[in-house]
């Protein structure tokens, strides 16, 4: 056996043909597998619209001047804000933040509900 012969043996291995039912059998098994679930796109349009509506509502309920005043008050007293939670100015600032947080949670819940992500 010469040197090239061994290469030829290993390269020229006979090719076997799949049985006729092979692909069908594979597909029968594949059908029993769980289907791929298409990733749900985040509903940016609804989310953006809701955020705009929420912002308008927030501005209507809490006028800009009050919010700015409250924010500056909170920034000034950041070192002792825990101790001054009873300060009406701080409470006035926290209120829109908590309101926004609650609004965001509600919007997220609505978004997931609308696109069926809770399946």
């Amino acid at each position: 056996m010469n040197k090239d012969e061994l290469d030829q043996i290993l390269l020229s291995e006979k090719q076997i043909e799949p049985s006729l039912s092979f692909a069908r059998n594979v597909m029968l098994h594949v059908q029993t597998e769980p289907k791929f679930i298409r990733p749900l796109p985040f509903p940016w349009i609804r989310f953006s619209a809701a955020m705009i509506v929420l912002s308008i509502l927030m501005l209507w309920i809490f006028p800009t001047d009050s919010v700015v005043h409250g924010m500056s008050t909170m920034t000034a007293g950041i070192g002792k804000w825990i101790l001054t939670l009873d300060d009406p100015a701080i409470q006035f600032t926290l209120l829109p933040i908590l309101g926004s947080f609650a609004g965001t949670l509600i919007l997220l819940w609505l978004s997931f509900r609308l696109v069926g992500a809770n399946q």
């Binding site: 056996m1 010469n2 040197k3 090239d4 012969e5 061994l6 290469d7 043996i9 290993l10 390269l11 291995e13 090719q15 076997i16 043909e17 799949p18 049985s19 092979f22 692909a23 059998n25 594979v26 597909m27 098994h29 594949v30 059908q31 597998e33 289907k35 791929f36 679930i37 298409r38």
Partner: protein
Amino acid sequence: MDQDTADIRRVIEGDTSAFENIVRRWQRPLINLAYRFCRNQQIAEEMAQDAFLQIYRKLDKFSGGASFSTWIFAVSLNLYRSSMRRKSLPVEPIDTLKQIAGEQFPHLKFEQEEREELVRRAVSALPQRYRDAIIVFYFRDMDLKETASILNVSEGTVKAWLHRGRELLRSKLGSRISPPEAIKEVCV
């Protein structure tokens, strides 16, 4: 976009029937690769079927970084290794092959088919890493780079494994075969 990529996208979007196109395109190579491990068509088809199911389950993990062929062979190879271990498929012990080659027929000249079968059985009986390297290297038409990608090792490691596999083949099959020239070339 090639056919495989298009079919993968369809499957991931929920059209399971598109997977049949992938099966029909790749059934022959995957069955033949399995056959080189087990030397039995029925078992090869069972192994290839398991490989296709594994490929289906992992289809969304295919990133497109490597070619689809490299990925599909790598997934299948891992499964074939496990199958060979799990099923304890009958592989001729390499020392038995040496006996067949050198002791049982000392004065007979091997017929071509017998010699070919002896070499293939000897490859199947090699330790796993050398067997895998030689099988994939020749199965992919001696493409060292793709062999390394499929085996998920460096090209240097593949060269070392091919070299060691060649040494084992030579020592076990004796003077009746010469080491593969292609392996010698890549080992230089």
